[in-house]
Symmetry: D2
Subunit: 508 residues, 4 copies
């Protein structure tokens, strides 16, 4: 789920160090659970994103009393099928209503269903998917199905499945293998159940994090003979693919949907602009007005956080390593400082760098009482949370996702989500943002599935600019927005096709 922060702060997409992604060369044991979930280990078995908790409200209904593992249950949907594994098929009705609500805010997918209904561009497609299982994903899956595809699905995160939605999908006949709170063994078992089926073999992969792709590479490499392409959503997964490609081991075309413009701007700038406020309010009920905040990193995520907090009356300082982003911060009206300069005076520290140990124990020692510390960046390494696990400090869990870390002199630091992503842990992601992502995924699948032979080689591709523009155009009606069309004369003058693409690929 790093996807929400793909371009966070100062991380270069292409600067990912080799050792992060080297799974292709490792001999891993997939069924062993690492001793500590969430720690980066050499014998890393599942992507870190799959253990990040997804949301404080990750389940609509309470089913905590049911301790039986779904793998041990016998369940059938109303049509008699048992080709699924979910927490409780009886929650289907509740899940269905959530899906219906989501449909109302995913106009592009609904439009796609209508437009493409006649021609079924995915007829014959057998898609195996591994993503978060939410109401929005359900809308995507049912759209793919309406376009002609057969789907089998697993979760890309052991915590993020909404059991009710999974139940609704299972009830509708989708072979879904996912529940909230899977063990790592469950995780791989579910993925395996998706691909290891008699009489059915996938020809398309939709992945979020690369675990599914990885599994097929390791266990069923022959499957790639029939696979037409991979659509990958996350930063991590995309980089695994680039590594494979670099090593000459990528054997099918792959589409990097993480780096499309709409996704980047929406998932990072616009979405974080809202979720930073939401996450802070829900956890602390603090007032923004007059608060001093330091935001580490002025990439898209940092820009969104800074803009929102400034607009709410906070006084915002920025730290940066890149002089260009630094100059942007200056021009946007933020004092550019080193963290040390302001650490004693700020009320809130927010990291959005994609880097590690940006907030160190030394910084934490110098913060003032009641200072709030949280992370909007790439992973939970930006704040050195581990350094706070020392005997002289007391941890007090005051609310869900909120810890007070107490110094011997009584000073308290308010740590949110234990340094994991605030917007995933403590706020919700608007359906509209997910709609853009899901539409992009659907279009990428259609493109890869229908591309004439030779258009795509065994490499990693960005979504063609024109499709990116198409995704955007499908979302304009939501805003009752009216696009202007070029006249023939103007198109000629500009040397553009009237239907786009209108910008070079690198336009951001």
């Amino acid at each position: 789920m790093e996807k929400w922060n793909g371009n966070a702060g100062t991380t270069s997409a292409f600067a990912m160090p080799d050792w992060m992604i080297q799974f292709a060369d490792q001999k891993q044991e997939f069924n062993k659970r690492p001793t500590k979930i969430g720690r980066r280990s050499l014998s890393r078995s599942i992507s870190q994103s799959s253990t990040d908790s997804y949301s404080s409200a990750a389940s609509y209904t309470d089913s905590s009393d049911d301790e039986t593992s779904p793998r041990d249950k016998q369940q059938k949907n109303s049509k008699g099928s048992s080709d699924f594994c979910v927490k409780n098929i009886k929650q289907a009705e509740f899940g269905r209503r959530e899906i219906e609500i989501a449909e109302q805010e995913m106009p592009a997918l609904m439009a796609l269903r209508k437009r493409a209904q006649g021609e079924k561009p995915l007829a014959g497609a057998k898609i195996v998917g591994c993503t978060h299982i939410t109401a929005q994903t359900a809308v995507l899956m049912e759209t793919l199905s309406a376009l002609g595809a057969q789907c089998r699905w697993a979760a890309c995160n052991i915590y993020s499945t909404l059991n009710e939605v999974a139940a609704a999908l299972a009830e509708s006949g989708f072979p879904v293998f996912a529940w909230k709170g899977e063990s790592e063994d469950d995780f791989w078992w579910c993925i395996d159940r998706c691909v290891n089926v008699e009489g059915w073999q996938p020809n398309m992969i939709l992945d979020d994090g690369g675990d599914l792709t990885h599994w097929i590479y390791k266990k069923y490499p022959n499957m790639f003979k029939k696979i037409k392409g991979i659509v990958e959503e996350s930063v991590t997964g995309v980089h695994r693919l680039y590594q494979l490609s670099k090593a000459g081991k990528l054997c099918v075309p792959a589409m990097n949907v993480n780096d499309s413009v709409t996704k980047q701007k929406f998932d990072n700038l616009y979405c974080c602009r809202e979720s930073i406020l939401d996450g802070l309010k829900r956890t602390t009920d603090m007032m923004f007005g007059g608060k001093q905040v330091v935001v580490c990193g002025y990439g898209e995520v940092g820009k969104g956080c800074c803009a929102a907090l400034k607009a709410m009356g906070s006084i915002v300082y920025v730290t940066e390593i890149d002089p260009i982003c630094a100059l942007q911060a200056c021009m946007d009206g933020f004092r550019l400082v080193k963290l040390n300069e302001v650490i004693r005076q700020v009320d809130i520290v927010i990291t959005c760098t994609g880097n590690k140990n940006v907030v160190t124990r030394e910084h934490l020692d110098r913060m003032k009482n009641s200072c709030i510390v949280c992370n909007m960046g790439h992973s939970n390494t930006e704040i050195d949370v581990a350094s706070l696990r020392t005997p002289e400090l007391t941890w007090e869990r005051v609310r869900s996702q909120v810890d007070h870390v107490i110094w011997p002199d009584g000073k308290r630091i308010v740590l949110l989500a234990e340094g994991r992503l605030l917007n995933l842990s403590c706020s919700t992601v608007p359906t509209f943002v997910l709609s853009i992502t899901a539409t992009t995924q659907a279009l990428a699948l259609i493109e890869l599935y229908n591309a004439p032979e030779g258009r795509y080689k065994q490499d990693v591709y960005l979504l063609p600019k024109k499709m990116d523009e198409y995704v955007a155009s499908l979302h304009l009606p939501t805003f009752d927005a009216h696009l202007t069309e070029l006249t023939d004369e103007q198109a000629k003058y500009l040397g553009l096709n009237k239907n786009g693409p209108f910008k070079p690929n690198y336009y951001r």
Copy 2:
């Protein structure tokens, strides 16, 4: 001078139509003046930018009474040299003070002078330049000189020379050939005087618009044998270069400084954010609060204009052809409309598209009384001003750069700068912005001049990312901004060099 709006609106850098740039294949007569200055003609001889008026305050002192052509004058500077041609060498002292003021706001060039003073990286360089001649250019030229270069200079625009500054440069020994109000014949004469010198041959070109490059290509093609490279500043010039390159006729490396990040963001987004307000105020003294404005085009220029006007309490509508920019406009809080929908109600119409005939006579007919119409975009074609030159409409010049066009029923449209660039005609460009541009030019010259053989081929190059970052870093002290440095551990984690570059080249 399109450079301030290079990425205006929806223009793709690479979508420039062929016929705009085809000079390489034409037989042109350079000494004939077109019947009407400023009109695009097939046998186009000087770039359009060279006839755009530069600034309403383009001369500090009044010298309107002196009608003698500088070419007919005999002038010497105090050291006895007469290798220059300026309006009036006696204005040197005034010009010198303006240069000194500019120096205070061009910290990067001054820093460059200090740092590079020892090693003289431009020792041996013979630079011929063709740019606007302003105090800021003077600081650039004197910096190049301090770095070891010899310079000869002409103006790239017949109106934009500040005579006092030209005088000061001449007094200091620079062979400068430029004055405000050159004829077209003067224009080429001045350029020729720069290059056609006995015993001196340029080995570097610094151009803004491509006219100098063009002249050398036509008249002295052999000169290129000694030329190490071209640094080009403007959109137009850059595209001429790309055309040459495409046609296999570019015979030296060229550096495109127009598309560097800092320049793009500063010249367009940040600079236009300020100059739209300034330009409107100086011409009309209008109040922004509560005014309804439509901005055509939501590229960097449009984004800057919209942000500023919204911040001042205007109600802003946006038109766009590109769905991605359109969606950005929506998320930024602007109603996306077609021009027709709001044309009757708006108080101000601003074009920033790079397109032509965006505002047509039909639109102008439907505007309400007192509507202000102006252009912040690429050239003077965005508003169809020609269509207003009909007998039934009365033109009344009410102030410098302000015309009332009066309909038979008494309705008045307030047309600014006759549809030319508002920010060039009616506001000033902050020295700080020019500082970034000038620093980039200086670094590009140094890079090309010192590059080991083979680093650059006969092609058009973007400034290396790292240099772009260096330009930015030189401007941070102005803001008392403190950059954070990566630790070794962090650099390793991110896979970055501690000194950058920090982002991929396409980062914006």
Copy 3:
């Protein structure tokens, strides 16, 4: 709890209709419960505010299983006292921690405790209070106690008591009579237990809504002989007092703390600026960017809502009846419309008028599918919710505080908090805001209690300007804000005392 919105929209403080406040002349039966809580009834017995639900998170811990009425329980605190009535004394420890957390954000009260500790300005004061019982109130009560006062307390709202906090206060020895979910009979019983005590008679009243004052007037009018003054917090209560005063029936001085500047600006402008976003997000998870919103009323509340939504990228329209506020809306960049003009196109409708039937059934009929409707104004009359209780419409409760009202054609309107105050029902109020209010209350009590005879007559007073300024100054250290002091010379020049007051009373 209308207090957060005292100056909402276009309501004039002095324009309250007579019939709203005429309790002094009515014969009411206080122990009968109206058939439907929350409906305005002619024989209105408790103020409406006392039945508005306070917060979706109004209890920290779950005690839903305990159905015994607190009135039927025998409870003692650890010191053996049973002079209190709360839900469960055993929850005291949890409540104490919440109080301690609140203390950290109520610096002014804590400072007051320290400063006034020596002199005990409330020594001898016997204060009976009727307010919301929250952690913040607890900090106030313990401050009053530290200043020398004895306190007895009841709740001003049948839903708003935090049981854990009430338990903590009882454990600390405060006679508190309050729990969440009182019946109306309970409500008056609790108030009576506060005042009807053998051997103890109050000499100060702190009221929020006027119910306590009302009760004493009705049941124990003789008590007023010993009462030195009333401090009233709410719009409703204040108007009741003005009515009494007008009718010549007010027999002690009363302090109107509702209309102090700090309270007005904080409770309305600054607080609503944040809570509108919070309330909408928590209930709907919607994205603000690009949404079209109409805000009815541009008073302080409306100004706060508009500013926040505009800052988050919404497109905001405003309706107003007052031309001055209307002109302010224009200058602040909002289109001023009649509701009818935009009702078909907006995504969100927010009322902040203090008026009634601002959003009618006709408007609701014309809204588009998924339109969100909510109220930030004075009371639940602004949206004509009653008109939606017709057979052809289906109500569906989709989340706590969120109803879908479904038209026969499938159109859904999303109604929040059934038209009651969004910020009370669906968001939390920052402690910092409550700190300002509580400090003002404490100072008003001190002022009235210590005022020399004759300073205050039997009338309603505003807090002296200087005290208002004092409250503000006590909150500045929170922001590390440093006030400038006048020199003697400057004070003389301005004709001001160096310690204030600095502005006329009417300054806003």
Copy 4:
């Protein structure tokens, strides 16, 4: 002209020191010119405002060559009248066009002309006026005339007259006595020519600064027998009136139009929000983005300046003496500091306090090189400019209104308008703002002239709230703004008249 800043910063309207206004008790000689214009002198004879320069663009055409005093000229208008004294009657045509342009932006006065044309509410009124003579004033005068009044007019400032406009008025038959660059003797001579006429005696006074009123008090006290009232515009004039009233010497009713809501908000908050940017740009061409600015005083003027600069990307610090304004600054997102804390680091210092010596020589000594210093406040005392007139400092005038003050070590301070009001000296005031003021003046004249005997005593009155609202409503059509009307039911519910007034008088 202090009027634009009446409520600047922390000045209380009623805190004006006695000695400023005590003219009623002084024996002054009016015909002596003080040795130095612009210095406050004990025997102060004309109000300071009358010597502040009005605008850098105070004359449209150049008439510097004509040195003859208008008093020595013989001029007649085309109808043969010579009852006027202006610079050059031949400039009438140019002036007329400026008046016509102004008419287009003064919709309320034009509407007033139309509405009141039938009934002539000022029939019989003989108005003597003393204000700035600008195109906007001309629209006011011609409106008064259209409503039935006879007018005679002088200038309230020796520099502010636009000669062309004065000529146009004289040509149209108005007895106008004013020109740019009057001596003090001229000043009083002009006023005298307005009132000392055979066969004509004023019955209404429209004053701006109190000089006209003062003159009549001193020279023609008997005139007050026929005078129905005074309308006064400026802070200074209003306070003189309050002083007279306090001393029992005010012998006619007076209307204080300075303190009407619309005027306050427009002249201060909204107007300064725009003019601070305009004034800084026109004088220095500086870039706002990233600049550090300290604004002294957070009253309406300061709020406007801060909002604009923050919006343009400056980093703004605020100083305040009033804790309430200070808390507002905090909540609005500004660091509240003492001037000393930031004086070394800021790029710009702006005073808006109404106080004196806010910026002292000590501060000036500590500023960094190139720091810009200017005043938006009450008068030219806020910056201790006098302290810079010492031998070791060099003054260099670099542009009109821009001085460099140079320290021995080379440090330069950029002082704008010698510390006088920046917005009057270096920017223009939008016609729309003047329209509000002029409309208020017209309505006040109508009200006083038509008021039934006894409605107004010999006292100073605020404009009735309802009229204030009327002025606002007349300006709404400019914004195509549509006011909502209360239903009968709603009006009853709110206890309001459907036509207003809608707010208490003190509403701001």
